[in-house]
Chain length 304, copies 4
């Protein structure tokens, strides 16, 4: 169990089969510094073109198509005292006329106070003088190379992960991605200091972070969509448009989890999901939307 430091000089705006930046063993940890969504580093220097330049990919020894890659988010530390957001709701999440006269491309700066664990507007905004948000770091875009030699822009998401912008993907969360290529080829970047559901202004508070992840291979247990686990719950992810379709994917993956590893019948899984499922919305800004299905562990049966 080694801890590697990944220092990037090139970044990728796709998730695909490109030469690995690092080879690690099964169960190794990686520490790396990410750029923000526009490619700016911790010192304010533009290092890569946006959007969402990725560190990686990381080749994980032993990972093969049909396996899962387990990504444990160990730690996320902001390494820049400033983040930024867009200053207007996206035109697709409201009646467009509501935002037609807002500055769609303007950026707003936010202070990130790591000591205090807070995020706040850098310049006062009338009515929001009180707004001091808890620092709640998350990875906006991460995942693995897709199958068949495909390569997807980091503006979107699919079965292999990508730009899901789900605020639950923070320290302490474990995520399993389906592995499609030898070594899995894991990418990450686009970290947010805080973000509401839906990423409805097109950004969270975008900043540079030092991230530590642990990468392990789970052999021979195919999944279709990403799965995740926190201390309290298990989660499944669907990425598609419209949001109905994303919800169907997430719900199907949860059904398969419950009827698979947890050994429930289809009727029992229906009973459980019907009365305790929770949905959370990831990105509704990008070409593919993200929906997360969640079941608290206290409702789960023992594993089969």
């Amino acid at each position: 169990m080694t801890t590697h430091r990944l220092v990037c000089n090139v970044w990728h705006n796709i998730l695909g089969t490109v030469p690995p930046a690092l080879h690690v063993g099964d169960g190794d940890s990686v520490v790396t510094e990410t750029l923000d969504a526009m490619g700016v580093d911790k010192d304010g220097v533009s290092r890569a073109s946006g959007g969402n330049p990725m560190n990686g990919p990381i080749h994980v020894e032993g990972a093969a198509p049909g396996d899962r890659l387990l990504v444990e988010i160990v730690r996320m530390t902001p390494i820049r005292p400033m983040g930024w957001t867009r200053a207007s709701l996206a035109a697709n999440v409201v009646q467009p006329e509501r935002v037609r006269d807002l500055p769609q491309s303007a950026r707003t700066e936010w202070f990130i106070d790591i000591e205090a664990g807070t995020v706040s507007l850098a310049a006062p905004v009338a009515g929001l003088e009180h707004l001091v948000l808890p620092l709640d770091p998350m990875i906006g875009c991460f995942g693995v190379a897709p199958d068949r030699g495909q390569a997807f822009s980091t503006a979107t998401s699919a079965e292999n992960g990508g730009n899901m912008d789900y605020r639950g993907f923070g320290p302490g969360t474990k995520i399993w991605f389906p592995v499609f290529v030898p070594g899995a080829l894991f990418f990450l970047g686009d970290c947010h200091a805080v973000q509401g559901d839906g990423e409805i202004v097109g950004t969270g508070v975008e900043t540079a972070m030092e991230v530590e992840v642990r990468l392990s291979v789970v052999k021979g247990t195919k999944i279709v969509w990403p799965r995740a686990e926190t201390d309290e719950a298990i989660l499944t992810v669907g990425n598609a448009r419209p949001l109905d379709q994303a919800l169907q994917h997430a719900t199907t993956e949860m059904f398969d989890w419950l009827t698979g590893e947890y050994g429930l019948s289809g009727v029992a899984a229906s009973h459980l999901m019907g009365q305790v499922i929770r949905y959370q919305v990831g990105n509704v800004f990008d070409p593919a939307y993200t929906m997360v299905a969640k079941i608290e562990k206290r409702w789960l049966p023992p594993k089969a």
Copy 2:
């Protein structure tokens, strides 16, 4: 401030302009016993045709088009020890083949223990022996008559409310509906002892309840979609298909609330919503889906 008891002999499967079952004053309370979604009463007697037969409508003195009707859910008490659910996920929320061999129309019985405050399967289901859910009552279908003489089935929902199946519509919640006709004409029914997000088996735990609501008129302050408030948060509701459209309606109504009563600029509202909004999913089973946008009160500015 009178408390009325509404005893129904006829029920409605629409929300529309039909003769009132009761006239009440502004600020009065109403206690009434609802049937379950299939029209069965507290004694197990079939009293009305399903689905979702409504008590009412209640004509509220002084309510006029352009006003809001405030509905405070004071109390919801199950009056039957049994509820029921469908035994299969709906075919539209998963890959249809997952549920093609499940008994789509079969019903499963649940015990409702009011003393203990619990809901549990009446007959054991393998793997769910541990499943004792907290009683968490909610109104599945309620609202007012729509505009222009329209009348909508209680299978669906729209600007006037209807079959939203949002689990947050329980005791302690206040809901404002737009008023479209003189007297507002308020309907309610379809109570659930508990329900997961999305009502993805097509039901919550359906039962008969005694419900107390307080009805008040807020003059001259037009809203487009239902709004709500709990101790912790303010909420807005969108009803449409696909879910993206419902999300847009809810987000637009929240934007209008923040830029209206809370006096925020469009940019300030975008900042606030972008970083703190939460979405919750109501019904994704019916012709119109329901999405709720939510902002915790601790993030709100003082009212303008």
Copy 3:
């Protein structure tokens, strides 16, 4: 077989169960003058409020729930030399920024020359000096009262018809609507001199017309969605949002037609539809979109 003249003094902005304006026998014809979509008559006098005020309803003797109402469009004669359109694409059918600076609510006048059978812009528009369109009259909004006492705005459409804005609903076309209430209660209005697919500016060339329809009852042969027939083809209609859902409804109704009256197996219907179906787009402007599925008669088997 009588021909009635229906002269209206009241118009309806809903399709619902309201008192009939006329009773006719099975197989009778009705001649009536419609207002335009904004309620203006042939003389330019505003007679009713928009949008889409309906003549009717017409009670057809013998029609009962579970029957079909056959509507034959015998004749449509413009009775006003002027029509109008909106001057901008609707914001939902293009990238909204393309039309944000266009005059969304402005109206443009068009000449309707009945002798010549043409429709042309009343005032010259640069680049469109050559645009002389063939007069191609159609009914934008027609249908019957829906079931269960529901009533729907003439801005939308459903199983009972309504504002479908399909350019194929012109003279010579036969349409079957499902009957939901005694007498069927048939409504019509919102005639267009010409219209492109989708009604993407929110209007066709809106005008007043004299319309003759023949109304007949087909007993005991339930349909779910409207069906139609021209000299060349049979058609089915789906009304819903998103357009995918409308397409599914239309396709399902066509499948039911082919496996029902035409006696094809499911596999045979799949073969036929898969290789010869044509889709046409009705309204993509209103709350419910319209999709039409079409099969040319030359490909049909003899009726079973």
Copy 4:
């Protein structure tokens, strides 16, 4: 102006930046034999894995990002007397229960008679004994490498083309694709002897063809979505889900064409499109759906 013969030994199941199989000059023609959608050649030999293995890519001299690649479909000749279809409507285009008992994965054989120019079922199907369809060849999947190093499965489609399954893409049609990479990298395959709108059984009549295309570069005239032209009409293509979104893309591209090359104002383009546009449905089977917007040339102004 050379005519090249492209003989493939490897095929691709993606459209992306892979080594060219052939370099041609601007304006050159290419003749090539395609495999069917499952990778079977003219002799019935399986040569590549499905679905939709592509011939190519072809590097066109001088093509650079920001240009258009003009593809003229000169000729399509079936080179196998047999084609095949799936035997059931896809579950997403009808109510799923309609097709749940049909043989979803079964294949049906069709005869292709090049002399007679007909396509017919190889084995008799009750009720379809009369079904002799005109041979109407089309390319199901073709396009260019997408931008930013992306690579998309031939199961789907995007701005760069791909699996659009539009029956209008046959001999005599010219298509312009946006160029994203040097040389454009043009791919083609998946030819159909005939196909209905929507490819609703998941296939047309799939077969091997000899195809001749002429490839030319149009410098410096960026487009977002594919455009096309036939003798009678100009067309634009949108690929997305839901179908509404595909329609918006196609409509936006047509608006841009009319206000660009044809010099119309936004209002004039709205007038023209509003009254004469036609929509046609490509694929509604794959992850991205295809909608085509069409305007007959007789309605176009002279080019600006």
